[in-house]
Amino acid sequence: MSLPGYNFAYLDEQTKRMIRRALLKAVAIPGYQVPFASREMPLAYGWGTGGMQVTAAVIGPHDVLKVIDQGADDTTNAVSIRRFFALTAGVRTTERTAEATIIQTRHRIPETPLTAAQILVYQVPQPEPLRKLEPRETETRRMHALADYGLMHVKLYEDIARHGRITLSYDYPVLVNGRHVMAPSPIPSFDNPKMHRSPALQLFGAGREKRIYAVPPYTSVESLAFEDHPFHPWKANEACGLCGATDSYLDEVVVDDRGGRLFVCSDTDHCTTRRAAGHRGAAAGHALAGAGE
């Protein structure tokens, strides 16, 4: 049941229709940033208001919602947003990627491959990939309109000149459908390949910047690079201390006051699922694993 006194999923129906129209346009032009009339949400800009508005516009009573923040289901932001929709839309929530029909995310794509029955909603702080290079909005819009993307490669050129390789490890720019350069939001470059030809619908909401964009299912998403410096998704060269996974994105966690540290899966659901299946890492049984063990 939803909260009495509020419309289903908080936003009024007019607003949801406005957002859905923006979403339709975004799906029709993959990677193109569609302006929309971003609303005030009952939390501050920068806490996922863009993603919440997109979720509110697409969610229905039978959806199952999962919310992650940096891959974790149990951080404050993820818990708050999940509870927000449980209250205002009365939907079932889950921490299991495979069970969810809508996954709202901040800074990660789940390790479990997504399906055509799922929608991934990204929270985006800065939707304009060219912004740091070209501060003028009129100019960046024109650059997108004319596919004038030399400047984007200048940034990568600089990185290689300075460090010998592309050091950009998150919010790594991509070319969508061979046409628009897009900011994938601050996900690690490790996740970039998951966007390419994903069966799931990917929607992006930037509340403060008032932009919505999308990658429809099975759309080409190519990370920018040079012929002689190809794209390399970055990942710590370690295994998860808890579940032993070597193919997942790892967070480095400081565990005591003596500089002790531990690499663990950033995707908590992935890690939990693996441990439940009997996988064990070098630090299995550590307090970080929670009460479950």
């Binding site: 004319l146 596919a147 004038d148 993307y149 030399g150 400047l151 490669h153 200048v154 050129y157 600089e158 290689i160 000149a161 300075r162 040079f226 012929e227 002689d228 410096h229």
Partner: protein, 258 residues
């Protein structure tokens, strides 16, 4: 000598409100030719140059350019993507203030490479090699390729701007007071460099300057502008040594002899 002009400007007019900045200016530029536009501040020479480049909307007249295939096209009828494509490959614009033509926070190599990357170059090593070569050509130590231009002197910045423009081998370069704001000794070096590059690359160029010595050194032909109008046009040394229009005579006689 080609008989077809590369650039043809017809009755170009630019208004700022009620002021006529450029009044029905017409001229042609042939391949390999350098044309100087001289006149005092406010004579409309920079406005004319910017209107030719498409930075200022024209209030009348047209600018025609000959494409590689020989077709003469009116620039205001070209679709914007094509005009931009021309502007970043076949045309170059050198600003008086290098800050307007460079990205000050990006390394010299990135500045020179940008036009290559915009034109589709995607091989880092080759872009770098080309940038190195161009720094050398404009007499900048290639060891400074990774330094941003804000660490460069004014003369070096201006040379870097020229390298950035010439790297795509444009056919037409428009320069707005390229030596303005530089010390005299630095000016001489830059002028010599421009002179050499223009002749080595067979560039066509339009150079706006208030300095008649610059016009004499670089230009085959020149236009004298006053109050938005072209009052005299001709061979550079003829206009300077035997000026016909009262204003040209005033301009020539006002130069201090060093």
């Amino acid at each position: 000598m080609s008989d077809a002009p590369l650039l043809s400007v017809r009755e170009l007019t630019v208004r700022f409100g009620r002021t006529l900045a450029v009044d029905r200016a017409s001229f042609e530029l042939w391949p390999g030719e350098v044309l100087a536009i001289v006149g005092e501040s406010g004579s409309g020479k920079t406005s004319l140059l910017r209107a030719v480049h498409g930075d200022l909307p024209a209030d009348g007249g047209c600018v025609q350019y000959r494409l590689d295939d020989g077709a003469l096209v009116a620039l205001d009828e070209l679709p914007e993507p094509m005009r931009r494509q021309l502007a970043r490959t076949q045309w170059g614009f050198v600003h008086q203030n290098p800050r307007d033509g460079l990205r000050m926070a990006i390394s010299a190599g990135g500045n020179v490479g940008e036009r290559l990357m915009a034109a589709g170059a995607r091989h880092w090593g080759r872009i770098r090699a080309e940038a190195t070569e161009w720094l050398r050509r404009v007499e900048i130590d290639p060891a400074r390729i990774d330094d941003p231009p804000r660490t460069y002197s004014g003369g070096m910045q201006q040379r870097l701007q020229i390298a950035r423009v010439l790297v795509t081998r444009p056919r037409l370069v428009l320069m707005d007071e390229p030596t303005g704001g530089l010390d005299v000794s630095v000016q001489a070096r830059l002028l010599d460099l421009i002179r050499r590059l223009v002749s080595d690359l067979g560039l066509s160029a339009v150079i706006v300057t208030h300095d008649l010595a610059v016009a004499r050194l670089l230009a085959d032909r020149m236009l004298v502008m006053q109050g938005g109008r072209i009052v005299e046009a001709g061979l550079t040394d003829q206009v300077l040594d035997d000026p016909q229009h009262p204003y040209s005579q005033l301009l020539v006689s006002s130069v201090l002899q060093a």
